[in-house]
Amino acid sequence: MSELQQLKAKDFKSNQEIRWCPGCGDYSIIAGVQAVLADIGVARENVVMVSGIGCSSRFPYYMETYGFHGIHGRANAIATGVKVANPDLQVWVITGDGDGLSIGGNHMIHSLRRNVDLKIILFNNEIYGLTKGQYSPTSPQGLKTKTSPYGSVDAPFNPLQLALGSGSTFVARTLDTQPKHMKEVLAAAAAHKGSAFVEVWQNCVIFNDGCFKDWTDKTTRDEQTIMLQPGQPMVYGKDQDKGLKIDGFALKIVPAAEASAWDPTVDSAGPAFVMTQLDNDPAMPRPFGVFRSVRKPTLDELVHEQIGTVTTKRGPGALKDLLYTSDCWTVD
């Protein structure tokens, strides 16, 4: 029934009061997800939100869907169980840079390589929010935090590179300050069949305020960022006058007209990985959008396909067959 009526974003709000700090980037992300769910018209009862622990991981409580607030770092594993058990559910993983990349890094990379059909949103605020401000695996080297009073000595992950290195079939990045872009990216993730890894730059106003400001500030962002559009030339700048061109194993800045087109659907993850290298170069714009999107069989499909094949071949098993095998003997 509920599938028939057209749901609105607000129908995906639970009755729980949201407990994020005023101004937290998380608000914009939840709004984006609610809007996208309404847009794609999925029934609320078929959506499961699975999270770990962190500010971001409180997300499921605020959603009028099924929800599982797990333990720290284990959201991907729990979600894998949900999805493989019941592939009819649409399963989202909500995680943070600490939850999903620090303690949960292993489940993250394994669920990506297995291509479990999960929509994974990584709230990257480059800090541990919930525990009140320690550096995370995405914090830049040198960041002073409560546990790095003289500056962090850890080199950070680039989440996109890690996802690509894990074999992820869908890799994207967006920002909390750009709701429209975020919705586009989330919609693409929802439409992707397979693991969809979406990094969202999210501002923590309390413990790491402004860490992304070079790329979010209205005054600078157009020159500092580039929004990749599938099949479109890679152009950017306030006047869309600049572009990127493939140059050997690298990219260079060219006038817009000479820009190469961006294709996230090529089988090789090489181009996407080269694209993420821009992050290391202050002279280059930061790319956002869909870096990679290729269709491969998902774990949940393969598991059930195999069950189907074996069952067709051997016939559905009855408990009796399992116990009473050819090795039995009878005593009268």
Binding site: V48, L89, N106, T311, L319, L323
Partner: protein, 616 residues
């Protein structure tokens, strides 16, 4: 076969140990002997003794692989203690095993593998065949290699493959010696090698030659007959090991609950087989996920239970340690989950291929916060099936994780199992909530089990998780009183399981001098030892525990009847500690063995006898 004129020696109870190099096929020889022995109607129990995990260089002591079978014309409960017969295929096998033999026991030695080089590989300074080591045993020396080559003269197989058949030659000799038919093995060979006629032919010839060799050459002083058990309960039987039984029990349990089984796992000795067995059962709708680690194993299982399957996970000690945090999550989310722990020697990696039962207190108490989980322990391979079903029952009836304890000895030991009639199995069908009227995630039934609504059900959307929840609404709650109520309720629910479990049966005289309490795989040796003493007229009784937590009702009454109580355990007295903490009015004496080896009935018997004599 050829008619036989050897003297027949009737014996009611025999233990044979086959021992050879890992490459000698001793496990196969043992299994064939077992299957045939089951068919002739003996009771039996077997235990393989694998070498440590990594294949050692051929011929070395570390590379010895053994298989012990105990069979009898009466009911038996262990794979035997000191063997009557040792088959030793090389010096290493001989050296490692001969000391276990019964005085006067038979040693059959393959002299074909006793060259200088063989002795050197086995690190033998002198030849045990000639240095007096074997005095006191009846040694039968035979160049089995040569006999096999002779028997297979003309076979198209190469020499190496011919020599591979020596285990069937040996098996033939043992069949003759113990008056077993060779036909079941012939059938098996046909099935196995039907499409490889050369191999079929070679092994068949080796088997028959071995049999005839026994008969013709009079190597043995006579031939043994172990009559079948005559009062066997009628029914259908099959040999089963503990891991198989657990796998079957879990799948049966899920089916009896009306659910699909989902096993989230990570390989670890000696629990891996359960995953292996279950991964074959795809046509039963069983989902197995081999995950990246034990944490992911249990977490997928929790996710699957949330989605409405029966989540399960299996592991051994170090893996259980890793699951600790997630077990707490299963407790607080009150989802059904079966956690199988096949214990091995610890601490840490310890002795991974050996037996121990030192995880009991970890299972009961090893979690942060007040996180009660029921614990069940199986006592033998056949018992493991029932225990696994029981674990599933408790998990779904009480919406709780359950730990099922097994150990390496049960996991790899085998015995005949009387199959239950499918229709006799208990049913405990789950009814998912579908009606939104009055639903909250913590609506409870009479057993205090919370309502289970699965994703996909309209209008029952809800959120659960690791933070404490309000008892009424299911929302996150930091309320102090609510927390205490929830903790008390979770405990009361688990304690309530006592209403659904029986008091263990006491076997023995009224008011015994000595009561022996056993659990897990100490069952067999304890039972054998106690029954032997009972036959001697001793006032000794026994009690075997299946439900370790919560403890069943009725125990104090039994304990009170005994003058002394002793607990043999393969740990430093963990059950003794638990019972003391619950029933401090009784004195529980621990008797431990932490050697990576099971108790043997004679050592227990001796220990119990000493106690009884002290009391006399």
């Amino acid at each position: 076969m050829s008619s036989d004129t050897s003297e027949i020696i009737r014996q009611d109870d025999v233990t044979i140990r086959f021992a050879g190099d890992s490459g000698d096929g001793m496990q196969l020889t043992g299994t064939q002997f077992t299957d045939t022995t089951a068919l002739v109607g003996n009771d039996l129990a077997t235990f393989p003794d694998f070498p440590a995990e990594i294949r050692a260089p051929a011929g070395t002591r570390a590379g010895v692989s053994g298989f012990q079978i105990h069979f009898s014309s009466a009911d038996i409960y262990t794979p035997g203690d000191a063997p009557d017969v040792l088959v030793a295929m090389n010096p290493a096998a001989l050296i490692i095993n001969y000391k276990d033999l019964k005085p006067g026991g038979i040693v059959l030695v393959n002299t074909g593998s006793f060259t200088e080089k063989d002795l050197e590989r086995a690190d033998c300074k002198t030849n045990p065949l000639t240095d007096g080591s074997l005095s006191g045993f009846r040694v039968i020396q035979e160049d089995i290699n040569q006999r096999t080559i002779e028997a297979l003269a003309g076979s198209p197989l190469g020499k190496k493959d011919v020599l591979r058949c020596k285990n069937f030659f040996t098996l033939g000799m043992m069949y003759w010696l113990f008056s077993r038919p060779i036909e079941p093995t012939l059938e098996w060979l046909e099935e196995k090698f039907g499409k490889k006629p050369d191999l079929f032919d070679a092994n068949t010839r080796a088997l028959k030659a071995g049999y005839n060799h026994g008969e013709l050459l009079r190597l043995f002083q006579g031939r043994y007959e172990v009559p079948k058990v005559d009062n066997v309960e009628p029914g259908t039987y099959r040999n089963i090991n503990g891991n198989q039984a657990v796998a079957l029990g879990l799948v049966a349990g899920a089916e009896l609950a009306g659910l699909k089984a989902f096993l989230g796992s990570y390989p670890i000795t000696p629990a891996t087989d359960i995953l292996q067995y279950m991964s074959v059962m795809k046509n039963h709708g069983v989902i197995t996920c081999q995950m990246e680690d034990e944490i992911a194993g249990i977490c997928t299982a929790i996710g699957a239970s949330f989605a409405g399957h029966l989540g399960m996970t299996n592991t051994s000690g170090p893996g259980l340690a890793l699951k600790t945090e997630a077990m707490g999550l299963a407790v607080i989310t009150e989802l059904p989950l079966v956690i199988v722990n096949v214990q091995r020697g610890g601490p840490s990696t310890g002795l991974p291929t050996k037996v121990e039962q030192a995880d009991l207190l970890q299972c009961i108490f090893g979690r942060n916060g007040e996180a009660p989980i029921p614990v069940i322990s199986c006592s033998s391979p056949a018992d493991a099936f029932e225990c696994a079903v029981e674990a599933c029952r408790i998990a779904v009836e009480y919406m709780t994780p359950v730990i099922l304890l097994s150990d390496n000895y049960i996991a790899n030991g085998a015995e005949p199992w009387k199959l239950p009639a499918i229709e006799d199995l208990p049913r405990f069908e789950v009814k998912f909530v579908t009606d939104p009227e009055g639903y909250t995630p913590y609506t409870r039934d009479a057993k205090l089990a919370r309502a289970w609504a699965k994703p996909g059900t309209p209008d029952l959307m809800h959120r659960i998780g690791g933070l404490e929840k309000d008892a009424r609404t299911g929302n996150v709650s930091y309320d102090p009183d609510n927390h205490q109520i929830m903790c008390e309720t979770r405990l009361a629910k688990v304690m309530g399981i006592r209403d659904s479990i029986p008091t263990p049966t006491y076997y023995g005289p009224d008011a015994p001098d000595l009561l022996v309490v056993s659990w897990g795989s100490t069952y067999g040796a304890t039972r054998s030892a106690v029954e032997a003493l009972q036959k001697e007229g001793r006032r000794i009784g026994r009690l075997h525990m299946r439900h370790m937590y919560p403890l069943p009702y009725g125990l104090p009454e039994i304990f009170a009847s005994a003058r002394r109580i002793v607990l043999p355990e393969m740990n430093f007295g963990q059950l003794a500690r638990l019972l003391t903490s619950e029933y401090p009015q009784f004195k529980f004496e621990q008797h431990y063995k932490v050697k990576g080896k099971p108790f043997f009935a004679p050592e227990l018997k001796a220990h119990f006898r000493t106690i009884l004599e002290e009391m006399a």
